[in-house]
């Protein structure tokens, strides 16, 4: 461990950023300050890399099973994939009553992908960063392996879901219906003038409701995983404080990991379930 505990923690919370620095041009950020100066047009290479790798693992795993899927006796991987598919299909059928071929695969992708990204949290916090630093030959390289502890990743997912919510709202209800939902509720009046006066109030309320969906979706996942990772990092700090505290740290790490297994599955499930619920609401035209 290099430097003080706070340096260690800060180092662990900084993404490997590649972007257009006003002074250095397109390059990797060497400090948190540099990363900040890159502005919006910068990429967290570690977040993107790991999420794509994990997404590919999901895709290959499930594609391999899907290719060999038979209606006969399933085995091994097919069993696992079928369990996941049936679980997601059941969740979707319970909540979503319309006909939409996208929802179920979307929910499956979210559940498995988010779960895999969360799962990275269970790998001891220093292993992969140290390995990456050894490979890159740069011991100061930033490297975060849990994509869902990066708000960019969770917001990316949540905004995609949000786009789908808007798309299906307009598709099902029409522009007028969608705007009506935003402006004519919850306060309505038979008097046209009063109704017109109520529009701003309604819009304020409904817009907050609408925008809260992706934000809460993203921040819930991010918050849970970020907090979990932070506690793993804090426990890792304990490891360096002598062998007595170190042993205590091992016990703590084990206990937190066990508890965290619950969290990572639950958060993946919540993200999936809320996506289904929001899209189901977008399809319902009964206001």
């Amino acid at each position: 461990m290099a430097g003080t505990a706070s340096e260690y923690i800060q180092h662990h919370l900084q993404n490997l950023t590649y972007g257009n620095h006003p002074v250095n041009g397109w390059s990797f950020a060497h400090t948190a300050q540099e990363a900040k100066e890159m502005g919006f047009w910068a990429f967290h290479v570690d977040t993107l890399g790991w999420s794509v790798v994990l997404g590919l693992i999901f895709i290959f795993l499930f594609r391999a099973a899907a290719k060999k899927a038979t209606s006969g006796q399933p085995s091994g991987l097919q069993n696992f994939v079928e369990v996941m598919v049936e679980f997601v299909d059941g969740s979707v059928k319970d909540t979503f009553h319309g006909r939409n071929a996208l929802i179920a695969p979307l929910a499956l992708t979210i559940f498995v992908w988010v779960f895999l990204m969360n799962l990275m949290d269970l790998i001891p916090v220093d292993w992969l960063p140290l390995a990456a630093q050894a490979v890159a030959g740069n011991e100061h390289m930033f490297f975060r392996v849990v994509p869902t502890t990066d708000p960019n990743a969770t917001l990316g997912l949540a905004f995609s879901v949000f786009a789908l919510i808007i798309f299906y709202s307009i598709k099902v209800k029409g522009i007028g219906g969608f705007l009506g939902e935003l402006t004519l509720h919850p306060f309505g009046s038979s008097n046209k003038l009063v109704q017109a006066l109520l529009i701003p109030v309604n819009f304020l309320l409904e817009f907050v409701t609408l925008i809260a969906k992706p934000i809460s979706l993203a921040l819930r996942l991010f918050g849970n995983l970020y907090a979990g990772e932070l506690i793993f990092i804090l426990i890792a700090v304990v490891f360096s404080a002598g062998w007595v505290l170190g042993l205590f740290g091992v016990a703590l790490h084990w206990a937190w990991a066990v508890f965290h297994i619950l969290v990572i599955v639950l958060q993946a499930f919540i993200f999936m379930m809320l996506t289904i619920v929001y899209l189901s609401m977008a399809h319902e035209d009964n206001h």
């Binding site: 919370l13 209606s71 695969p105 990316g156």
Partner: protein
């Protein structure tokens, strides 16, 4: 923890994965699941039908067995009756045959008796004639006394 273009990259990756999942992962798995569901339902149906068929067949077997038993009993009964009848008939026949034979024998005996009687009568006639000849010492004209002798013989 800056918000930056990672967001867009993540969205693009998400979109690609979802599309792939929707096109190449979800349909085959769901199809296999539905096919298996149908297969299992069909299998259960077939099993139900088979057990019902079995029940019917067993019922049929019992019924046929019962029928067969009744029939066999009937046949045995009839056979017994026929046997009795045959025995009775043959007894009657035998009796009739016996009677007939007896009658025939009687008739034969009678006939022979008659013949013997006739022969005896004839012989007795000639013996009587011979005796009379001896007694009279003269020959009796066979032709003249034939009538007398025959009458005598018939009286015997």
């Amino acid at each position: 923890m800056n918000i930056n273009a990672t967001l867009i990259g993540q969205s693009v990756a998400f979109f690609v994965f979802v599309m792939f999942c929707m096109k190449y992962v979800w349909p085959p798995v769901i199809q296999a699941l539905q096919e298996r569901q149908k297969k299992i339902a069909d299998g259960l149906d077939a099993a139900n039908r088979a057990s019902r068929d079995l029940e019917l067949a067993q019922e049929k077997v019992t019924q046929q067995l019962r029928e067969a038993k009744t029939q066999a009993a009937e046949i045995v009964e009839q056979a017994k009756k026929t046997a009795n009848q045959i025995v009775e008939e043959s007894r009657d026949q035998a009796r009739a045959e016996g009677d007939r034979l007896k009658a025939q024998a009687k008739a034969e005996i009678e006939q022979e008796l008659n013949q013997v009687k006739d022969a005896l009568r004839a012989q007795l006639g000639s013996l009587a004639v011979a005796g009379a000849e001896k007694i009279l010492g003269a020959s009796v004209d066979q032709n003249a006394h034939a009538e007398l002798v025959n009458k005598l013989a018939a009286e015997l």
